[in-house]
Structure formats: structure tokens, C-alpha cells
Amino acid sequence: MSMNRIGYYLKEGICGVFDHGLMSFATVCMIVSTLLLMGGFSLLAVNINKIIADLESQNQVAAYVDENLSDEEAEALGGKLLEVGNVASVTFITREQAMESFLSQYEDNSLFEDIDASVFRNRFIVNLEDLGLMETTARNLADVPGIVKVSAHLEISRGFITVRGIVNAVSWAIVGLLLVVSMFIMSNTIKLTTFARRNEIAIIKMMGASNGFIRWPFTVEGMFMGLMGSCVAFMLLWALYTLLARKVAASALGFLKIIPFGGISLYVLGAFVGVGLAVGVFGSRVAIRSYLRV
């Protein structure tokens, strides 16, 4: 393809965008909202995956020691626990430490003024190697003589894994659906602008233009709109995400670590530009197909 041709296609395509300003504006807005929804859901999924990974990495099981054992006897159980499979490390917590940490959760601890450390049990905090084996490991820990009870947050970890499954499935479904919808709308926009130009297309065909020659300006038009849409969507998502992350950090959910936008911005931009261009190219192809049969 000669530079002259490329110049012609670019000029025609970009003029097309501005000649049909209102339609182009509507199309770009549509692409922006599609990408925002897609990006929003994807980032939600990514963050949930990250939170689960964080939770998993700090997933712990508490193993409570028989009250009849002395503090020394209790602490000595640590070695036995380490021998159980899938145990990464154990930390011994005395009754007193357990009580302090309990009381520290309440600002007004007058209620528990008279509480005695003896109501708490000595315990071990056990870190696991593989979260998936939590149930078996918990049973094995309970079988160690001197351990009376093991509490594992099975419900919590199971719950998060279910949520992850749902969010992943939903976000893929939404991404797919929006992709189809946005291509359809883009295609219709270009169809409307080409409808006005179907005479022109017929004339150019009559002059011996190949389909490619006719298609390229429309492809450029679609790509240009896709590109504009993806840039605007990227900036909006950036602003919204940063704002939301700040809100979350300041809220009760502040303990959740939100991925900073800077760390993922290049992937988001790449994906947006890719999707924007693809929607533009396919949308324009579908749109002018019927006008090429002259």
C-alpha cells in the first residue's frame, strides 16, 4: 500500500468521524460506557482474587489446649503440632495474652473488669501450608493428645472462594455480552452514516474500486472512534477507581488491600485499546457489507 493511499484512507476516515459528529459522539459514548462496565467488573474480579489470596496467605487455625495441662506442658505441645502434616508454623498464646487481645477489642472494658485469665484457654495459632487441606489438617490437629478443640474458619474461606467463582463467572459473561452489544451498536452507527453514503459507495464501485478501497476509510473511522472511546474510558476508570479505592480505605472495609491503579494501568490501557480497535474494525466491516454488493 502506497503512502498516498494510506494518507487518503486516513483523511477520509477521520473526516468521516467529524462529518457525522453527533453519531460519532454517540458511538464514542457507547464505547466508553461499555469499556467502563467491562473494566469495572474486571477490576472487581481482580481485586476479589487478590483479597482471597491475601486471606489465604494469612489463614490460620486456632488449636485450644486442655485446661488441665499446666502452662509449661501446654507450650511443649508445640513440637507435636509441628509434626502434623501441612503445618507451616505454630505460635503459642498464653491465657493472659488471649485475654488482653480479647479486651483490646472493646474500648469500654469496664464490663469485663473482673474477668479472669483462667476463663481463657492456652492456645496455638497454627499457620497452614495449603489452605485447600484445611479440613483434614484441622482434624489431625484435634487428634493430638492435649488438644481439645480446633477452630478453623472454614466457612469464611469457603465463602470467599464461592464469591470468587461467582464474580469470575459473572464478569466473563458481562464482558462477553457487552462486547457483542457494543459491536452491534457501533455497526449500526456506521450503517447509518454509510446509508447516507451508499450512493457514493455505488459510484466508487462503478469506477472500479475494490472492496478494500471502499472499506478502509470506514475501518479507519471505526478504529478512530474505538481509540477515542478507549482513551476516554481509561481516564474515567482511572479517576473512578482511585476515588473508590480511597473511599474503601477510609471505610470499615479499610483492612482490605485494594490494588493501586498504577500497578495495573498498563494492562487496562492495553485491553481497552485492543477492545476499542477490535470493536471499531468489526463494527465497520459488518456495517458496510451490504453496501458493497453493487
Binding site: S2, M3, N4, R5, G7, Y8, D19, E200, I203, I204, K205, M206, M207, G208, A209, S210, N211, F213, V294
Partner: protein
């Protein structure tokens, strides 16, 4: 070469536009195609350009059988033709210059070739001062001349003109006709559809006459009707 062999054409609404018509135009020939309005002249041209296809018979242009030509070949076929349409078919939102340049772009000419050739061809039809005007700013005759310039710009092997002087004053009509005969002398096959007796008689070329989609007469000489 252009050859129509026992061609029938009926439109979708049932109009029988051509009825067992046979015409042959050899390479390098010049011919006028005359006949009353509605006799099927434009239909013949549309068959040659591949805009429509015939119901029966054979249309062969430059070796391509128009009822069998593939979609891929069609652009190449059309690039060998320079067609002046009765309704001009200019692109409304492009300047005179761009309308003519477009034909060269389609043919794959370079930017330099286009810059040199377009003004030259526009000067042949007397429009060198209107290069940057838009079609709607031009009179019917001027638009027709843009269409002529566009048909000539690629030096096509075959030139087909559907009433190319219909909107042009007599002096300029003679000039344009002379231009077409000169291009024919340089080797192009030329088929001119016209109503204008005087003009036809002025040139004493082959005259193909049709009426009601049938051939009435075909031979050198005068057109008296």
C-alpha cells in the same frame, strides 16, 4: 471489444427493455448509439459496466463474459472502462479536483501523477479554473464536463458516454465530441449515446439505431429521424 449477442433484458417490474439485441464494437472503433428516450440505450451501458446483468443472451466486454465475471474481476473490468453517466454521478462532498483524482486513486496512481494529470485533464474540458469548486456550485453542463474529465483521466481502453453533451451548449458539445474522436484516434474504443442529430451528422461515424429495445439500423452515415 464489446459484443452483445441476442440480448434480452427485462427489469423486475416486467419492463422489457431489450429484445434480442446484437451489437459488436471492435477495438478502436467509434460509434454513436441513438434512439428515442426509453428505447434501452442506458440499459445497454449498464450491461456493459456490469451494473445489471441480462436476462438472456451474452454480453462480452474486453474478453469478460459479463454474466460469469467473478466478484474479484469486476473492479479490474471496470477500471478498463471510462464511463460518463447520464446522471453524472459525481460525489457531492468532494471538490471537482477530488472527484477526478478519485478515479486515479482507485487505479493506484501516485500522488505525483495525480497532481500532474488532474489539472491537465480538467483543462481539456475547460474547467481548469473550477478545480476547487464543489459539484453543487456548478451548472449542469459543468458537472457533465467533470464527469467527462473523470472518465478520461485514466486513459481507459474503452470510453462509454451516456448523453455526454445533453446539458452542454452546442459549441462546447462539438468541442467535447472532437475530444472524444481524438481519444478514439489515439486507440480507445468509444461508444457515444446521444440524441443530437446535428452533432452525429457532423462527424459521419458509425451510427447504431435502436427503438423499443431492438436494432433498427447499423451503419456508417447520417442519422435522420
Amino acid at each position: 471489444m464489446i459484443r452483445l449477442e441476442h440480448v434480452y433484458k427485462s427489469y423486475e417490474n416486467g419492463t422489457q427493455a431489450l429484445n434480442d439485441l446484437s451489437i459488436t464494437l471492435e477495438d478502436g472503433e467509434f460509434a454513436f448509439l441513438v434512439g428515442p428516450s426509453g428505447s434501452g440505450k442506458s440499459t445497454i451501458i449498464k450491461l456493459i459496466t456490469g451494473e445489471i446483468s441480462c436476462t438472456e443472451g451474452e454480453v462480452i466486454v474486453n474478453g469478460y463474459d459479463m454474466s460469469r465475471i467473478s466478484r474479484r474481476r469486476m473492479p479490474r473490468h471496470r477500471r478498463l472502462l471510462g464511463v460518463i453517466f447520464q446522471d453524472f454521478r459525481l460525489i457531492e462532498n468532494k471538490s471537482v479536483y477530488e472527484n477526478v483524482a478519485l478515479a486515479m486513486r482507485i487505479a493506484g496512481a501516485s500522488g505525483k501523477e495525480i497532481k500532474e494529470r488532474v489539472p491537465y485533464v480538467l483543462s481539456l474540458v475547460g474547467l481548469e479554473d473550477m478545480m476547487h469548486a464543489m459539484p453543487r456550485q456548478l451548472s449542469g453542463g459543468e458537472q457533465q464536463r467533470v464527469a467527462i474529465a473523470r472518465a478520461l483521466v485514466n486513459n481507459p481502453k474503452v470510453i462509454i458516454a451516456d448523453e455526454p453533451t445533453g446539458n452542454i451548449d452546442p459549441e462546447l458539445s462539438a468541442d467535447i465530441m472532437t475530444l472524444l474522436t481524438k481519444i478514439n484516434e489515439l486507440g480507445a474504443t468509444v461508444l457515444v449515446v446521444t440524441h443530437e442529430k446535428d452533432l452525429v451528422n457532423q462527424f459521419a461515424k458509425r451510427v447504431i439505431r435502436i427503438a423499443n429495445g431492438r436494432l433498427v439500423s447499423d451503419g456508417n452515415g447520417w442519422y435522420i429521424a
